[in-house]
């Protein structure tokens, strides 16, 4: 009787090892299957959204938003674009900067409306920033301005250069 019990007890560790193996195999299979194709893959990109933070009166007067928030966007990083032609005419050169940016943006499936950020470099001269603000107000009549900075730099041929970033939905 006791011998039989012994032999049963002897088989038990074998079974336990077997059970352990099966559990390990099950876990491994589970880990392998989980990230697999049994379930639909997640959406590659979240849906596109854009939000213009409202500025103070001073920021509105300067034709800038304090911040623009985008999500799930295709981002177009533009090179610095300088103004051409019209020597000495700041307003005309500024207009040509945006005309050229428009061409580049069109090639990327976007337009000036998609600009979210501008770094503006201008030659210091009375009236230049006022001309710039006027132009920005014409280009963005709905007040959805890109978030901008404006600094004056040493004169180097062109009176204005702008480096912009645009975003478009996928």
């Amino acid at each position: 009787m006791s011998g039989r019990k012994e032999s049963k007890m002897g088989a038990s560790p074998m079974n336990r090892v077997l059970a352990g193996l099966m559990v390990v195999l099950g876990l491994a299979a589970g880990l392998l299957v989980a990230p697999g194709s049994a379930f639909p893959p997640p959406q590659a990109m979240p849906s596109f959204s854009i939000q213009y933070l409202e500025g103070t009166q001073e920021q509105k007067n300067r034709a800038t938003s304090p911040a623009v928030i985008t999500e799930g966007a295709r981002v177009i990083w533009l090179a610095g674009q300088s103004g051409g032609g019209s020597p000495g005419n700041f307003a005309a050169q500024a207009k040509s900067v945006f005309d050229r940016m428009q061409v580049t943006l069109n090639q990327s499936g976007a337009s000036l409306k998609n600009l979210v950020s501008l770094k503006v470099f201008i030659k210091a001269d009375p009236g230049n920033s006022a001309d710039l603000v006027k132009l920005l107000q014409e280009i963005f009549p709905d007040g959805k301005y890109p978030a901008s900075s404006v600094v004056t730099v040493a004169y180097a041929g062109s009176l204005i250069e702008i480096q912009g970033v645009a975003v478009v939905g996928n």
């Binding site: 099966m22 589970g30 959406q43 933070l53 500025g55 928030i69 600094v151 975003v167």
Partner: protein
């Protein structure tokens, strides 16, 4: 013995199902920003300790905040900061933090910025103040440019940044 093995197989199968199911089910519930991350590449000792910037920051998904150039001639309470570089710099960082809080983030979410000063001698002061803003050493990437001047007379520093608000900051 066969029955025992069958039982083991069914237990393993249930294990597989339990492990696979939660991951599969969680996919459709993913929100737009989930899985998004921002990783700060640690700089050299000089970059980290003296100049307070990261050589690179890697973002993946998340909410992008395009900030305008922030400058400060007065503090939050309207007190003049004319001629006081340190006070202007600190107020600019505070301003950026306030703007980002309106967007659901904070100064800690900035991934890159362009810092404009109108006197190169302010550079060392600027990086010292900036260093203290990021006790965790996760500095934004940065360019520090000396310009001839700003749009508003009296401004000594202007900062234009880009922030990414993501699930994880590494």
């Amino acid at each position: 013995m066969k029955r025992f093995l069958l039982g083991l197989v069914s237990v393993s199968t249930i294990g597989v199902w339990l492990l696979a199911a939660p991951k599969g089910n969680s996919i459709p519930q993913q929100t737009a920003a989930s899985g998004s991350s921002v990783q700060y590449i640690q700089g050299t000792a000089r970059q980290q300790n003296e100049r307070a910037y990261s050589p690179a920051v890697i973002s993946n998904g998340g909410k992008i905040v395009w900030l305008s150039g922030h400058s400060a001639l007065v503090d939050f309470n309207g007190k003049s900061l004319a001629g006081d570089f340190d006070a202007q710099a600190k107020e600019v960082f505070a301003q950026i933090d306030r703007t980002l809080k309106r967007c659901g983030g904070s100064l800690q979410n900035v991934v890159t910025w362009t810092v404009y000063i109108n006197d190169s001698r302010y550079g060392d002061r600027l990086v010292k103040i900036r260093h203290d803003m990021f006790p965790d050493g996760k500095f934004p990437g940065s360019a520090l440019i000396t310009v001839s001047n700003f749009d508003t007379p009296g401004v000594l520093v202007e900062i234009q940044g880009i922030a990414v608000i993501a699930d994880r900051r590494m």
